[in-house]
Symmetry: C2
Subunit: 399 residues, 2 copies
Amino acid sequence: MQLELSQFPVATARPEVRALSESRIRQVANAAMGREDVLPFWFGEPDGVTPLAIREAAKQSLDAGDTFYGPTLGLPALRESLAGYLSRLHRPVDVARIAITNSGVNGLMLACQAILSPGDRVVAVVPLWPNLVEIPVILGAVVDRVALSLNPQSQRWHLDLDALLARLTPGTRAVLINSPNNPTGWVMSAEDQARLLAHCRHHRIWILSDEAYERLVFQPTDSTSAPSMLDIAHPDDALIVANTFSKTWQMTGWRLGWLVTPLELIGDLGKLIEFNTSCAPTFIQKAGVVAIETGEPDLAAFRQRLIAGRETLLTALQAIPGITAGIPDGAMYAFFKLEGTHDSVALAQALVQTVGLGLAPGSAFGPEGEGWLRWCFARPPALLLDGVRRLKKSIAREA
Amino acid sequence: MQLELSQFPVATARPEVRALSESRIRQVANAAMGREDVLPFWFGEPDGVTPLAIREAAKQSLDAGDTFYGPTLGLPALRESLAGYLSRLHRPVDVARIAITNSGVNGLMLACQAILSPGDRVVAVVPLWPNLVEIPVILGAVVDRVALSLNPQSQRWHLDLDALLARLTPGTRAVLINSPNNPTGWVMSAEDQARLLAHCRHHRIWILSDEAYERLVFQPTDSTSAPSMLDIAHPDDALIVANTFSKTWQMTGWRLGWLVTPLELIGDLGKLIEFNTSCAPTFIQKAGVVAIETGEPDLAAFRQRLIAGRETLLTALQAIPGITAGIPDGAMYAFFKLEGTHDSVALAQALVQTVGLGLAPGSAFGPEGEGWLRWCFARPPALLLDGVRRLKKSIAREA
């Protein structure tokens, strides 16, 4: 007997994929559907269009007919540009250790495919943007979490390094660090990086370092880059550094990133790139070359806007009774708690509905973020202050 | 005692990744490094630049400042265009079942992430372009293979459907079909598709159908699309159809593709897109809309060039004693055997070195392809004939 199709509900994803978190930021953003009066501070995205010179480079490449497959590891010109850029910022980086990826998150997926087997244990420092902990889960790894805490004296987020090292036991496959951190703005110190590296060398643990915000750093005020694992590591260390053009050069929509890996890994990484996306578009990579070669003045101006936005927003938030906000030393977010908040998705949805204020719920960044909200300050001060006014209005209503 | 770094060779990929095949086509292409007299027929790529209107659409989008994140499942305008396009070619396809991907291969990776768990068994019809069988391996699945054979009477590649169905036992998770097939040009018949679908429904087996070449079909000569699973399947069937802009609209370098899935799967697929690349660039998707809406005349001209190239190449090859070539009913390759060939990589390397002829070794498409060579005929007839002259010269030398 041929059974009916309806008796076979097979056309669903495997359980591990069904169990992946839905984006809680999208859950909140969906509450704003059809409304035009909402101020959107929820997504992690600069508010400026990509600088003209970068866009012109892509257009020229399209005019020149660069519409064919490119090399798997990326255009030599872009890899060379990046090698020079990274060697200027950090220690010398051999071009052969650099792979171009189709976005920063794509680089993290590739890195995890390269090193994580099902059942592997990884440890992540949290709260953390969700992708970095969900990618290992897709690949069957188990993610353990070590939480940052807010130091009330310094008003900075703090990592208990000894607690982290204690969890990095022999047999742990990798530690996942995102510094400067999304969502908290925490920046790992060079001293902590050195101790982590020594520990991971000793116990043969991979370090996967997501340095997407390394150029968006505010402390000390004259610094142009956060401490990077590339400042201290040996080329053969079990270290993969992931980065992206998205934040530094305001190129979120371009989907261009890179990895720095040990030389030993790069051939296998090339195979994985072939089987994931095969290559990044050549006309996008040529735009990337121009971003690196000409982008510093635009980046400096962007940092100045971020410094102004950070000052405006943090000062205004800290003046509101009942609000606790850590001071972010990097990235582009204020992460803050409103006294009495236990359900950040419900609060964020209510803020959209009652006052048109669009913030990301802290629980989007893990259970450690429950009760908190994330506010992207890559926006003009006047817009940020309008947002703060709306927040105050909402608090007044509730009181 | 602190051990030395050198005692810890950990900075390599996991064994499954190290064991992935290196591209044998690249092995051959590397033999041509530094030579300018090689005729390259090895890669699967149309030889024309992407049509102007498509490139202009991307440039206009860049001018308009479309440099921000887009929706995870793709621009509504592109998904709507594709729904209309697919509904005209096949049965009505609901826009909600369509997801935009960062290339065709990216779509296959996403589809496999959605449905394959470690240890799952999948069955592939081979010879086959390597990516489709390596992706499941990356995810820990086991790939079984059913080989096409060349029918000497019809000179067509033939699938023994009963043999395939016998291997699709209960508990098999998925069957992987690429029709029109790369490298053989085999096109699965509508009758075989219907029997496969009925069998897979009965045994609850997913069908992953890579239809990248569906518009590049030569038999019957007035057909504009190969038989597609979308012609016969129910929207709720456990079927994922993968496709790409690469071949149909000569957009290989753009890295744009799509998936059609059951509605039940699309939400989970969206999560996987978020964690793989997050979205495709908006300016590339807007070019995709123009490709669909205005691309039919260019596609018709491209098909005419393919028909001329196929006729020229196959006629010339079949006139050479000792050569066996199947007639390709689709795609853009001649797949042929030179009598006495047992090592296709060595032969392809020798052809590069002695006569400057660049062909893909058949073993790149699995052990079933050993002894064969793949020749992309998306090239002008004069160039193809120059290649055939070189092949003859090589054969004469060996004789």
